[in-house]
Structure formats: structure tokens, C-alpha cells
């Protein structure tokens, strides 16, 4: 075996989430490239891409996705309005569903943003705990065959997050853009039977959207036009109807998928600045006593949001009974996910991991989330201790950071799958090596 000395291995780490793809050098404390996972595309090449600066790619030549004529990714990707541009996201429930665009996104992050040649660097990719064997093998195939990487490793985000918090055994609660998951990690391995996840954040998002677009007795339904479609607006008082003009030149040429994507962004923005959750559980009085928050939408419409902003966060923890009865397929709440996960663990282990709860993921930055979670857990368990990185960067990029440290270790490199091993053993080695 080769003896790897120092820590200079110049590996790259790629962490793919539903909202963004994070890529950077192993050993760094933040990813160099963070690009949206959603991408814009044209079905057929437009005649002229007039005033738009295109910092984008070669057309996609993947036989699996022949309809795409041109992809728009990264900083000047979906955020730039283009005539007839559709927007798509290759992830479904936190897993890669469409590898064509994912390969293009990774290439964009590594080659165009980081200016690296992937064939010069070992690459470590992360995967959620519920990733399928077929998926990780496909990822390895793309890395070795398409990117020609010298070495590859795929690591579990649950384990990486536990390790990054300094724990071999932990209960990792990861709240992402679309998925919330609870993963028991024992001595550096995921306890598969205890894994629980649901598309809860997506449901919270839908709830917030419903709240905004539907009129209430004291507020009109809110238009979620993004700034790209607004020609001009005049200042109005809070609660007054907005006075704005749409860009009539753009509106008819805007695709459904772009509208949906941009409206979702407006909702996300609103959630991040206004929504919250009560720390101790729902209580009408407590919600009413909190100061309302003002928010201005791109149309110029201004409103104050009172107790309703707390009802959004409540969806993470408790489904309203009337919703439960009308819809049996609601995603499991955080509390349900946690108890489901713990049921699968034996009592002795339960005690250990409840004392070592690691809270991570961008969605966990939701205002009041950590405090509420801790209140919910201490109600049922005596010795709960939640470790959540205070630094929001560590929270959002926890999986990436863990991969970054691991990938920078000289000693870890004996575990990478090398190009030669791939050539000799093929796909089978991925499952053997990356446990």
C-alpha cells in the first residue's frame, strides 16, 4: 500500500442538494462554488439570445434528454429571465433523478466556476442516507468515465454531519430544502432501519404559499410576481393595493415552469425573512403577543404579518387535525420522524443518541426551529442534548464541510476508489468500499 504522508491531496468535494450544488477544495472551510441545482433550458435553440449574457455551457448531448437544446446554469442560470426558458430540477426527494443535467451542473461548478480540470483531482461526492445502490454506481460511472477522475469516494451526509460535530454516534436531524430526515449514526455507520425521512419542508412551503396567495378578511391575496417581470412600481402604504406595471413584453413569453420556479423563490424569501415557529408549542395568545413583521413584495405591496407567520413553522411539528382527516398522505412531522427513528433503535442506544442530537441543514435555520425541537424532545426524553453549529455556514454546508475535512486527510486516501480499481472491479467496488 502506498504511504500517504501529508494532507496535500488536492481533492475536490461535491455536495448535491435540491436547492444548490456545493463544490470546493477539500480542506477549505467553505465551498468555492455554490450554484442553484435548478437550471434553465430551451427546448429548441432560440433565434437570438439578444441582451442576455450567456455564461453557459455547450448544448447537452446526452441521449437521455434530447429535448434540451441549451442549458443555463449557475449565477446566470434560471435567475436571468429569457424568452421561452423552462426551468427544471434534476432532484426528486433528495435523490438524483436525472443524471444528464447533474453531470452538466457538476461540470459547470468544477470547470467553469472553480476553473479545475476534474481529471487532475480525486473527487468525493456526498449522498443522502436513502440513496439507492444504482444511483451511487451511476455517480461513480459518471466520475470515472465522463470526468476521468483519478479517484472517487461517495460518503453519507448523515455520517459526515455526525463526524463534523465530533461524534461517532449521533442522531442526525437534517432539514433541507425539500426533505427532512432523521438518521441514527452508530460508530460511524448509518443504522438503516432507524432512518426516517419525509418531504416535510416542501409541505411547509406549500402551506406558506397557500397563506400568501389566498385573501384573508384583512388582506388581499398576494401576487407573487418576481422582480424580473415588473417594469415599475410606486411606493404604497402598508396594506394598500400595490401600484405596479408588469413587463408586458416579457409576460406572454414566460413559461409556466419559470413562473412556478420564480414564485417558489418569492415564497422561500418570505419564509426566510418573516416565518417562524413558537419555541414552546402553539398557543394563540403567545402567537398574538409577538410583534408583527413587515414585508414588502416585489410588486411594492407591503403587509404586516402577525400570528399567521408562526402558523407556518407549526407545520414542521404538528398537523392540524382537519388536515389530517382530509388528507392521509401528509408528510410526517419532525416529531413523528424522530419517534419512528427511535422505535427502531434499542433502548440503550436511544439514550446515547438522544444525548447527541445533531441538527443541520439549511432548513433548520428556520427562525425558532432549534428551540422548538429541543422543547419537543425534552418533553419525551430526559437527557436530550442538541448540538447545532451556531455558524449558519456550518449548518448549511455541514455535509460538504465534513467531506472537506475527510477528503483532505492523507490517511483517508487509502480508502478512495482509484481509477485502476474501477477498471478492474467495475461497479461492484462502490458498494464494497463506500459503506
Amino acid at each position: 500500500m502506498v504511504n500517504y504522508g501529508g494532507d496535500e491531496v488536492s481533492a475536490l468535494v461535491i455536495d448535491i442538494g435540491t436547492s444548490s450544488v456545493r463544490a470546493g477544495y477539500a480542506g477549505d472551510d467553505t465551498p468555492k462554488a455554490v450554484i442553484p441545482t435548478s437550471y434553465g433550458y430551451h427546448r429548441t435553440a432560440p433565434d437570438a439570445d439578444s441582451a442576455m449574457q450567456d455564461v453557459t455551457e455547450d448544448p447537452m448531448n446526452n441521449p437521455g434528454t434530447p429535448k434540451i437544446a441549451k442549458m443555463h446554469m449557475g449565477q446566470y442560470g434560471p435567475t436571468v429571465w429569457r424568452e421561452g426558458m423552462e426551468v427544471a430540477n434534476p432532484m426528486v426527494e433528495g435523490l438524483v433523478n436525472d443524471f444528464g443535467p447533474v453531470a452538466a451542473l457538476m461540470r459547470h461548478a468544477v470547470v467553469d466556476v472553480m476553473r479545475c480540470n476534474p481529471s487532475d483531482h480525486p473527487i468525493l461526492v456526498t449522498e443522502p442516507a436513502w440513496n439507492t445502490p444504482a444511483n451511487r454506481e451511476r455517480m461513480a460511472e459518471i466520475m470515472f468515465e465522463e470526468f476521468q477522475v483519478p479517484a472517487f469516494y461517495i460518503a453519507n451526509t448523515g455520517v459526515l454531519n455526525a463526524f463534523a460535530a465530533g461524534k461517532g454516534s449521533a442522531l442526525v436531524i437534517d432539514v433541507g430544502h425539500t426533505m427532512a430526515s432523521v438518521t441514527p449514526v452508530v460508530d460511524g455507520f448509518v443504522l438503516r432501519k432507524g432512518l426516517a425521512y419525509s418531504p416535510l419542508p416542501q409541505y411547509v412551503h406549500a402551506h406558506a404559499r397557500h397563506l400568501l396567495v389566498n385573501p384573508t378578511p384583512h388582506r388581499r391575496g398576494i401576487d407573487l410576481f418576481p422582480h424580473q417581470l415588473i417594469a415599475n412600481k410606486l411606493p404604497v402604504d402598508a396594506g394598500a393595493p400595490p401600484r405596479f406595471a408588469l413587463r408586458e413584453d416579457r409576460v406572454p413569453k414566460t413559461t409556466q415552469s419559470w413562473r412556478a420556479w420564480s414564485e417558489a423563490r418569492e415564497v422561500d424569501e418570505w419564509i426566510q425573512s418573516v416565518a417562524g415557529v413558537l419555541e414552546t408549542g402553539w398557543n394563540d395568545q403567545a402567537a398574538a403577543s409577538r410583534p408583527p413583521k413587515q414585508y414588502e413584495f416585489p410588486t411594492g405591496y407591503i403587509s404586516y404579518f402577525g400570528p399567521e407567520r408562526y402558523s407556518v413553522g407549526e407545520q414542521f411539528f404538528l398537523h392540524a387535525p382537519q388536515m389530517m382527516s382530509s388528507n392521509s398522505h401528509l408528510p410526517k412531522t419532525m416529531t413523528a420522524l424522530i419517534s419512528e427513528s427511535l422505535r427502531a433503535c434499542d433502548p440503550e442506544l436511544r439514550q446515547v443518541i438522544m444525548g447527541n442530537v445533531v441538527l443541520t441543514g439549511g432548513g433548520s435555520l428556520f427562525a425558532g426551529f432549534g428551540d422548538r425541537l429541543s422543547a419537543e424532545l425534552s418533553r419525551n426524553f430526559p437527557h436530550v442534548k442538541i448540538h447545532s453549529p451556531g455558524n449558519p455556514v456550518e449548518r448549511r454546508y455541514g455535509g460538504w464541510l465534513g467531506g472537506s475535512v475527510l477528503g483532505s486527510l492523507g490517511t483517508f486516501h487509502q480508502l478512495w476508489i482509484s481509477k485502476e480499481e474501477w477498471a478492474e472491479h467495475g461497479k461492484a467496488i462502490v458498494g464494497q468500499r463506500c459503506k
Binding site: 504522508g5 463526524f163 460511524g188
Partner: protein, 138 residues
């Protein structure tokens, strides 16, 4: 998943001195400077638990084994060897990552551990907390 960090044979020798010859009360393990090997940081014969706690720095990670002695009700004196993973919240993320991913290598090579403690603050490794866990065990 593991980091691939190796265990220096000295760790095992010192551990067996603690276990079989009762030569030490506790051993503190750490990583060498370039994070390639687990080495012995300190051995001690002090029976004062506070001395042991002082060996665990506030912002750095360590592992340790401690030969815990306690009275079991109606069954006399007992000794249990306790393994500590010390990773305070204020440690650097890199240190936490390397220590957590290397723990298994050390833990598996030490035979005869009765109890494992994962500590992030001093309350979790306090004498009463550890004693409580040791007594509850069989």
C-alpha cells in the same frame, strides 16, 4: 466510514499495562501532529478524578481510558474501564471530524472496555455522571 488513521502500538502496550498490571489510573490518547497516527498523550497514576478532567482541553479533542473504581451496593468494590471520546463544541471542525472518524480504530483495538462516554462538555464527563452510568450497567 473511517479515516484510515493508524494506531501506534505503544497505545496498546500502555493500555494493557493499565488493564492487567494496574500501572496507571488513566491514559489520554491524541493524534500526532500530521494526523496520521493515534499516540499516547499522557499516562498517570493520580487517583484524583479532577486531575484527569484537567487533561481534557476545552477546545481540543482527545480520547482517554480511565480505570473507574466504585462501590457496588452489597457487592463490594468494582473496577470498570471507561473509554472517553472528548470532542467539545468549541473544538475546530477539522479536529472533531478527524477524531470522530478515527475513534473506531482505537476503540476496536482496546479490548476490555466496559463503558463508552461521548463527551462534549464537562457535565457529561463529570465523576457522578460517569459513575451513574457505570453502576447502571450490569
Amino acid at each position: 466510514m473511517a479515516s484510515g488513521v493508524a494506531v501506534n502500538p505503544d497505545c496498546l502496550e500502555q493500555f494493557s499495562d493499565l488493564k492487567l498490571k494496574k500501572k496507571y489510573k488513566y491514559i489520554v490518547f491524541t493524534l500526532n501532529a500530521d494526523n496520521t497516527e493515534i499516540v499516547v498523550g499522557k499516562t498517570s497514576t493520580s487517583t484524583d478524578y479532577e486531575d484527569f478532567i484537567k487533561e481534557l482541553p476545552e477546545t481540543e479533542c482527545r480520547w482517554a481510558v480511565y480505570d473507574l473504581e466504585f462501590e457496588k451496593e452489597g457487592a463490594g468494590k468494582r473496577n470498570k474501564i471507561v473509554f472517553y471520546s472528548w470532542a467539545p463544541d468549541d473544538a475546530k471542525i477539522k479536529a472533531k471530524m478527524v477524531f470522530a472518524s478515527s475513534k473506531d480504530a482505537l476503540r476496536r483495538s482496546l479490548v476490555g472496555i466496559h463503558l463508552e462516554i461521548q463527551g462534549t462538555d464537562f457535565s457529561e464527563i463529570a465523576h457522578e455522571a460517569v459513575l451513574d452510568k457505570a453502576q447502571r450497567g450490569h
